[in-house]
């Protein structure tokens, strides 16, 4: 891949398997009087996929918004690549955000732009790639991988919910981020597409040594993508382990997620 002009450094410099890329300790967050995150602790290692399970409204989205600095934790420490996010200057935060991909639950496509322009946006505005052929190639490649090439010149308003989700995913992965935070990547998709997306997440992890946090309710997605699963309830992580470990758990809340799985 001709990536000379891209200012994202090759990610095999430090291929140390045990390097912790995200370290969250005792993070708390309230809105007004409502405490959403009570005590969050998590270590994400390089190249690892961690799946977060949890009921609706437990604060999963809030937790990953804190990681990219869109929300500020009230207390606790949240380090990415060893640096405290809350203490970063604007330009440091920007540099960090370039290395983190974020898939919004809603897809968050720019609705005044076509799918192509949506995907070009991070390439031209953030990575500042000057070469049009290179941009076209990467846009087509990313859309191909989510199976959306035929919708390249459509506006988001002309896409179905699932297509928007996939376009959002393509826009997230197109910059080859080192860390990807997926907020419900398969919600609203049919089982076949869900499975393809789950496998795509796995492929990205293997190919780019990406570390990911994947929020999902889709147990099939969790089974395919997870190296490790944490279960969140009421602002805390209450259980942690591999898919098989948690499958055997006696905890009522954990068991409720696995009840339909034989």
């Amino acid at each position: 891949m001709a990536e000379a002009q891209v200012n994202v450094e090759p990610r095999n410099i430090r291929k140390d398997k045990d390097e912790v890329v995200i370290s969250i300790k005792g993070v708390k967050k309230s809105f007004g009087t409502k405490q959403v995150l009570k005590n969050i602790n998590l270590k994400l290692k390089r190249g690892e996929n961690v799946v977060v399970l949890g009921r609706s409204g437990t604060g999963k989205s809030v937790a990953i918004l804190c990681i990219v600095g869109l929300l500020k934790p009230d207390d606790g420490s949240l380090k990415v690549f060893g640096d405290e996010v809350a203490e970063m200057s604007d330009s440091e935060l920007k540099q960090l955000r370039i290395k983190i991909g974020f898939l919004f639950q809603s897809g968050a496509l720019y609705d005044s732009m076509t799918v192509r322009e949506n995907l070009e946006f991070p390439l031209t505005r953030v990575l500042k790639i000057p070469d049009h052929a290179e941009i076209d190639r990467r846009v087509e490649e990313a859309l191909e991988s989510v199976g959306l090439l035929e919708a390249i010149d459509k506006l988001p308003s002309d896409l179905s919910g699932g297509m928007r989700k996939r376009a959002g995913l393509a826009r997230t992965i197109i910059v080859n981020p080192e860390i990807i935070l997926y907020d419900e990547p398969t919600t609203g998709l049919d089982p076949i597409t869900s499975r393809e997306i789950s496998e795509l997440i796995l492929t990205i992890q293997k190919k780019n040594k990406t570390s990911s946090i994947i929020i999902t309710h889709d147990m099939e997605c969790a089974r395919i993508t997870a190296d490790r699963i944490v279960v969140m309830d009421d602002g805390e992580f209450i259980a942690e382990g591999s898919f098989d470990d948690l499958h055997k758990s006696n905890n009522k809340i954990v068991a409720s997620f696995f009840k339909d799985i034989s």
């Binding site: 869109l70 920007k94 955000r97 370039i98 609705d111 505005r125 500042k128």
Partner: protein
Amino acid sequence: MAEEVIMPGWKRWLEDIGDQVGFFFKFLKNIFVGGFEWSEFVRQCYEIGYRSMMLVGITSFIMGIVLILQLRPTLVSFGAASMLPRTLSVSFIREIGPVVIALICAGKIASSIGAELGSMKVTEQLDAMEVSGANPLQYLVVTRILATTFMVPLLSVIGDAIGLFGGFLALNIRDSISFSLYFTKVIGALDFTDFLPAFVKTIFFGFAIGFVGCYKGFHSNKGTESVGIAANSAVVTASLWIFVIDAIAVQITSLLFYK
């Protein structure tokens, strides 16, 4: 990022002022960070000009006609019918044209900017842009504010011309006056101290329209009803600003020019 905290009204008002000042400095800073978004700026200028041209043209034309018809009886009773073109041009260029056109633009442009950015906020597009490492202030806000600052004065000049033309047609209903005579009278009545302060004023009007629209959109709450609130309060606030700026402008102009 709206964090719902219940505060007394005056405190929230003060905080809002503080936020606006902060937003203004962010805007200034982002004009000069590298890579000005020329294509987005040009697109916005086109959109703003194109969207408002018709409306500004029609209202100015009608204003010109109506003013002549309203002024005529009074001036005729003083035997000063020949003063009509002069009266129209001075009142239109100095005050009525800029203010009415700016109010129309506030209704048309500030609301659409407020609604557009407000809906981008609600659907997390602003967050997405920020999280991707791009700069929504530079891409969305700087371009829109500069576009209105640039286009509103232009629309005013065009509107003034159309308004004066409307006046010419209205004059010809009762009296008959040749276009060249009318034109000479209108231009002769004006000098630099009529035109320049009015023009400078429209630059500020344009800035206020873009700034208020962007601020209201950017700072709207999450939830679909906030889009309407953002659009609505953008119009109200921008209109208020137009009158405040107008009041300040007349003080400054009379200090400087009309002794």
